[in-house]
Symmetry: C2
Subunit: 480 residues, 2 copies
């Protein structure tokens, strides 16, 4: 396999990220052992060991943030009886075209069909009346990390549009007052902001327009990341559900004054799209690039030894490895039979943030050569400074990745004031009057109003579609 490549083999064989995003993306996922997409069912992926570790690291960050803010991890069943699922009619309508149905078990036709969960509102909310009696039972904050299933008829794209979405993290909360629910929505948004920061992911945060709300929701904030082709990817949303579900599922409680009210609910979710965003945004034409927070291996040691020096180098490599392990890094020593060049290539494709080269020269000078994956820059570091330098290097990786990606996102946003300025491949921010008629005019240009800007002061300008007074700034883009 290896001999067909030259010194920088990938340049010849790797599809280029910015000219062929789709092909590049699939190749990065496959070559780095993230996914195997050859499972014989469309939109259902096999997660390989390396990909599973990265995704687990991401979900562990999210679960820790939820645990720290008083959410309890739970687990609700996958199969939902039809009558439970169809209780909230708008919710049913929003999902009925895309759910998988279990009709048969063993040799029996089931009299009551079962839905394979596309999301867990109904499974959870029919339990809540059993848990909520009085205001003292509130708030309740639960979450689960599971698979959800959507029968996509459009073409699927791994981690972006799948039929089995794994993992899917959904949080659901219940409160005694609308203010508390609103406060919880803010907390949900803050949790996701922090999550994105730790993944070195910049995002566009918008309020969803009314016509785009999740079935049953009364208010929704949405996070978008920008793919290399300029299209936006919805990566997480935070919903204020008001009392729409609690009225349907009869989730009531006794207030302190003895009267009864329906609970106020919120829900928010994240998915495998977090990894899609990390990979699409940070990786390059050499393969995967990962922030140190989620890299399964933060540093790989590659020994370079020649006859004569072998023993000395091996001893020194052991010293280096021990230092790094004691320093608390996730470190691997590659003592395989591959040549150093092959090893470089192998670990670059897998996005290990730092390569530590140790050869006869390093051994003699009591140094190591560290190479940053994201810049491919080399630097010599004295052994005594190894752990502090490595710590710094990993922080630098994460900072660089976030900064570069932020610059890219910022540079892609254009403020426009006229319909004729709409152009593909860019994110546009425009004044808008809020009328659905004007939405249709804008969206006729095969772009989408993805949401309303959160900035409170809209300059006194005119709607780009009708020229009436604008009430909002909206973001316009193409999306996945």
């Amino acid at each position: 396999m290896m001999q067909e490549y030259g010194v920088k083999p990938w340049v010849k064989v790797f599809p280029r990220k910015h000219t062929d995003f789709g092909e590049w993306y699939r190749k990065v996922l496959f070559d780095a052992d993230v996914l195997d997409q050859r499972f014989p069912l469309k939109g259902c992926n096999v997660w390989k060991g390396y990909g599973t570790k990265i995704m687990d690291n991401i979900m562990n960050i999210l679960e820790d943030l939820l645990d720290e803010s008083d959410h309890e991890k739970t687990y609700f069943p996958l199969l939902i009886p039809e009558d439970v699922f169809s209780k909230e009619s708008k919710h049913l309508k929003g999902f009925e075209d895309q759910v998988f149905w279990v009709n048969k078990a063993g040799a029996n036709e089931l009299t009551k069909k079962l839905v394979v969960r596309p999301t867990s509102e109904t499974a959870m909310y029919q339990m809540f009346p059993l848990w909520v009696r009085s205001h003292a039972d509130l708030p309740i904050r639960v979450y689960q990390t599971v698979s959800v299933f959507r029968y996509e008829t459009r073409s699927t794209k791994p981690l972006i549009r799948d039929r089995e979405i794994w993992p899917f993290n959904e949080a659901h909360t219940l409160h005694a007052t609308p203010d508390e629910a609103e406060e919880q929505v803010k907390i949900g948004v803050e949790i996701y902001r922090e999550l994105f920061r730790r993944l070195a992911l910049p995002y566009l945060l918008v309020r969803k327009p009314t016509w785009e709300l999740f079935p049953g929701a009364v208010m929704c904030f949405e996070f978008y990341t920008m793919m290399p082709d300029g299209k936006l990817l919805e990566t997480g949303s935070v919903n204020n559900l008001g009392q729409s579900f609690s009225k349907v599922f009869d989730i009531t409680f006794e207030k302190e004054d003895g009267t009864r009210d329906h609970a106020y609910q919120t829900c928010y979710g994240q998915s495998e799209r977090l990894l899609a965003s990390v990979i699409a945004i940070h990786s390059d034409d050499h393969g995967l690039v990962l922030p140190s927070s989620i890299a399964p291996i933060q540093a790989v040691i590659v020994p370079i030894s020649y006859t004569g020096d072998a023993e000395k180098v091996t001893d020194y490599v052991a010293t280096v490895e021990k230092r790094l392990q004691e320093g608390g890094f996730r470190v691997t020593l590659d003592s395989s039979a591959m040549t150093p060049g092959e090893k470089y290539y192998h670990w670059e494709r897998k996005g290990v943030p730092i390569r530590v080269e140790v050869g006869p020269r390093e051994t003699k000078k009591k140094i190591v050569t560290i190479v940053r994956r994201h810049t491919l820059q080399k630097r010599e570091v004295p052994l005594e400074d190894l752990t502090s330098e490595l710590k710094e290097a990993l922080e630098e990786v994460d900072n660089d990745l976030l900064m570069w990606a932020e610059d890219q996102l910022r540079a892609s946003i254009n403020h426009i004031t006229n319909l004729s300025e709409i152009q593909e491949g860019r994110i546009l921010c425009a004044p808008f009057c809020g009328e659905e008629r004007c939405r249709d005019i804008i969206e006729a240009a095969s772009v989408e109003i993805i949401g309303l800007s959160l900035k409170e002061n809209v300059a006194p300008t005119r709607c780009i579609a009708c020229d009436n007074q604008a009430t909002e700034s909206v973001y316009i883009a193409r999306t996945y």
Copy 2:
């Protein structure tokens, strides 16, 4: 709720473990917030926060053991196309009465039906030919922790016989030689032995008789735990699959000598039954009892303060809490509005191994009173010895639980030499000739031959059914 109970309220209201195991078991699970069994679909449970934490702790121990012995965590899809699932005819036959079928998606009848996985052999093994080319690709060791689904028509029992089994941990390995596969089976057995030790669970380990083998397996070891009613619960199995699946799925590789062979496979699994065993074996008429290894809270601090002393006690409680946190214990301070007695009752039901009582007397004497959940014994401990004493106390809990349960299991096994000695409610060990005819005679007494003893030397005795020369010792019992 609380005022209806007296000093030892549970004695009045709790069903007794040894006279009414079924009712007692359900009540322990419910009262300790492990499960809510009111989900409107038989055999599908809602896992509450506390139960999820315990189960996560158990699965983390198992996953760590698998990771340490070179298994890679992966994830394979839930839905399996019918033609893949039915490829191994014995496997299909073993499961076809109990699988859930997806026939419809959105409004479309599916032309190819999908099976909701009852186990993942077929989903995984149809991928392996893509991963295995040469001996250098072997061994492969993967595992996943997922839900599996079995359409049980018998009555269900939470964590023991469910329709959604969550979590289910299944490991699957591939090897170049039968010897390596046999070696791997031993490793699988050792991993489970260590797991059981950490859960303070004694077990009976047997080799499964041929007629009881998992569909497709050629050799199987099985772990059984003993429930309080004397029945055995199968809790984990380790299978040598030989080449039966690799021949069906065409998993071949090139050997070092250039010839080709089919891979040799093993698989082994564990499930929620681990928690069923922990709870059923260790808990008592006061509620849950947990070994410290999996207790979400290892010690709960209960402050006991009276007017006048309140401030001093509060300060001292903070000191105690800080010490325990710094000692690395999972500790909780219960500063709720409940009375100390109510708190005792609450945390006893939840099986917190150690209660730390801190009142005016403790504050004055710079001591704490620690109470072991499993014995309810009290002991005073000087503040300066707190962390070492607590560490010791937790070890004592785990050792006691294991020892007590081992004694119970040992005392329940009777060695018999005659059919007339068969009796319910005990585990019997008897000489056996291996003939199916004799099996039928034995099992006519509504007991089951659960497996063959692993002890190599069978005394020269006669089969209890036919009086011919015995070749094996078999264990006979009733099972769940």
